[in-house]
Amino acid sequence: MAQKRIEYAGNTFDISYTIDNPTAKRDIAILHGWGSNKELMRGAFQKCFATLRHLYIDLPGFGASSNSVVLTTQEYATILKIFLKTVHFSGDVVLGHSFGGKVATLLQPKLLVLVASSGILVPKPLRVRMKIALFKALKPVGAARWRSFFVAEDATTLSPVMYETFKNVVNEDFRESFAAFQGEALLCFAKDDTATPLYTAYEIERLMTKARVVVFEGDHYFFLNENLHVNSEVTRSLQMMES
């Protein structure tokens, strides 16, 4: 692991990262999803992408990277851009899982690899919708006291700053940003994923000019098992771009 201190909008961020395959000339930056960290991603992809320099990054507020302010997805991307410049990122490939996929899209790489990326709004399950309705109904009688019962699983252990950040980035309609993406895109989605269902991949494909959907077996974390398959699809995309 390594750490770099960067400044953005008057705030300091200690960004924790790891580089593998340091002598390769082209780069892949790999971004984790909400509540995750670079070690999970590195566990999946360390042995992949042999021709690329791997940059595994903890997003601010996750893993070993610090964050003390409320951020938006756009700000995450801006901070990442500042960081990537300091490590002389080649700009070739960015792979992002789930929330990391949205940040990856804003980085405008030559090849964007979205792994079960969020960004297309999915109707909430009935159970969640009822919980929200109940919370709103009980608000006048002080439902805030039972907040921990109502808060999403992803948000229960968050610091106040990260909870506000979570509210900024969750349920964010990212269609415009997907449509604005100009490079090549590889959309890796899985059949049994309920967080970012397969149909959302096809919706992103429609929005983008040069996108290709590959369907995988598994759930939202399918890449942990299908890492080699993801690797071969990325290689294929790179070859297609060169020919």
Binding site: M1, A2, Q3, K4, R5, Y17, I19, P22, A64, V87
Partner: protein, 345 residues
């Protein structure tokens, strides 16, 4: 003979300390052992010897063990009715952080609990590689050239490649890189600065001969271990050193002539005398063109370097029989009494 093994601590080497403690459980089975675990938040637990396995700590199960507090002379275990005081000397095997920076030394000194381990001054000089250089230079022990960089300062290194980058205050090769060219420097510094605010840069000498020598002083006599030539690739990385910490088999003595062994011992004694009494330490040296250079001092070596001693149990026994005494300053209020008397009160 009673002995408490104190391990864990708030340190990057917390887990290595657990490995050391479990290794020592075997090597010191002749003693009446007590195991005291310091968790990362500084709570002390009395660990049942049967629970001395890595799993107990990684699973968090240690938290079910009785909590210990300190009082003058010993550890206190609260019981349903009253409390029990545990009095016995302590073997400090908290590597890095708390154990080697003087925190534990200060704590045990304050409570007058006898212990094997570096005292406060010894900790200061051996924990920070910069101060080790200063100490060695002051005592006439040779060290490699070095440069110091700070996290917020310039990243310019003037010595030529390849060189080695180390966090100033970390052991076990954590955060250490060999830098072979300018492209690799920035990342190596980011790796080291993750662990410390300052780093030390030294020339990396391909194939340099490295020799480890452990020892301690008891009743005015210095006792040395055998000299070991550690196996290495580029240098011992964390994984290799980690495995090293659980070592318990004895090693083969390095093939060295008598003159070199004498020179190593002479340098060891120069560093040890008057500073490290009460501790069993390991010094890692280089021999370059017949000259001895100090690489680093490990004031709490992994598994107490048991594998370097032919009779480790006697070594610990000898140390226990001659631990430094606590200087007690007797406050008798003589000055106040004199003034009061002069004022006629």
């Amino acid at each position: 003979m009673k002995l408490a093994i104190l391990f864990g601590g708030q340190s990057y080497e917390h887990e290595i300390s657990i490995v050391s403690a479990t290794t020592l459980k075997e090597k010191l089975c002749d003693f009446e052992l007590t195991f005291i675990f310091c968790d990362q938040d500084h709570t002390l637990y009395l660990i049942d010897p049967t629970q001395m396995k890595a799993q107990t700590f990684s699973s968090g199960n240690y938290a079910k063990a009785p909590v210990l507090t300190l009082q003058q002379g010993g550890f206190v275990r609260k019981k349903r009715f009253g409390s029990e005081t545990l009095t016995m000397p302590v073997l400090n095997v908290i590597h890095g952080g708390d154990g080697e920076d003087g925190t534990i030394a200060g704590l045990l000194d304050f409570y007058k609990i006898p212990y094997i381990g570096p005292r406060r001054e010894a900790s200061v000089f051996s924990f920070d590689k910069r101060y080790t250089k200063y100490l060695a230079e002051a005592l006439g022990v040779k060290v490699l050239n070095y440069e110091i960089l700070h996290k917020e300062g310039s990243r310019e290194v003037t010595m030529s490649y390849p060189f080695i980058v180390k966090p100033s205050r970390l052991g076990s090769s954590i955060g250490v890189s060999v830098v072979k060219n300018a492209e690799a420097l920035d990342y190596a510094l980011d790796v080291a600065f993750e662990f410390d605010e300052s780093v030390i840069v030294e020339p990396f000498i391909e194939g340099v001969k490295e020799y480890n020598l452990a020892g301690f002083s008891a009743k005015g006599v210095m006792h040395y271990s055998i000299v070991e030539e550690p196996q290495k690739s580029d240098f011992l990385d964390f994984d290799k050193k980690y495995l090293d910490f659980s070592r318990s088999a004895t090693v083969h003595e390095a093939d060295l002539d008598e003159r070199s062994v004498t020179a190593l011992r002479h340098n060891f004694k120069t560093l040890y005398d008057g500073l490290f009494e009460g501790a069993l330490i390991r010094c890692d040296f280089f021999i370059i063109e017949g000259e001895v250079y100090l690489n680093e001092i490990n004031p709490i070596p992994g598994s107490m370097a048991n594998y370097l001693f032919k009779d480790f149990v006697s070594a610990i026994t000898m140390l226990l029989e001659d631990l430094p005494s606590f200087n007690r300053i007797h406050v008798n209020y003589q000055y106040i009494h004199t003034i009061s008397a002069a004022k006629g009160k």
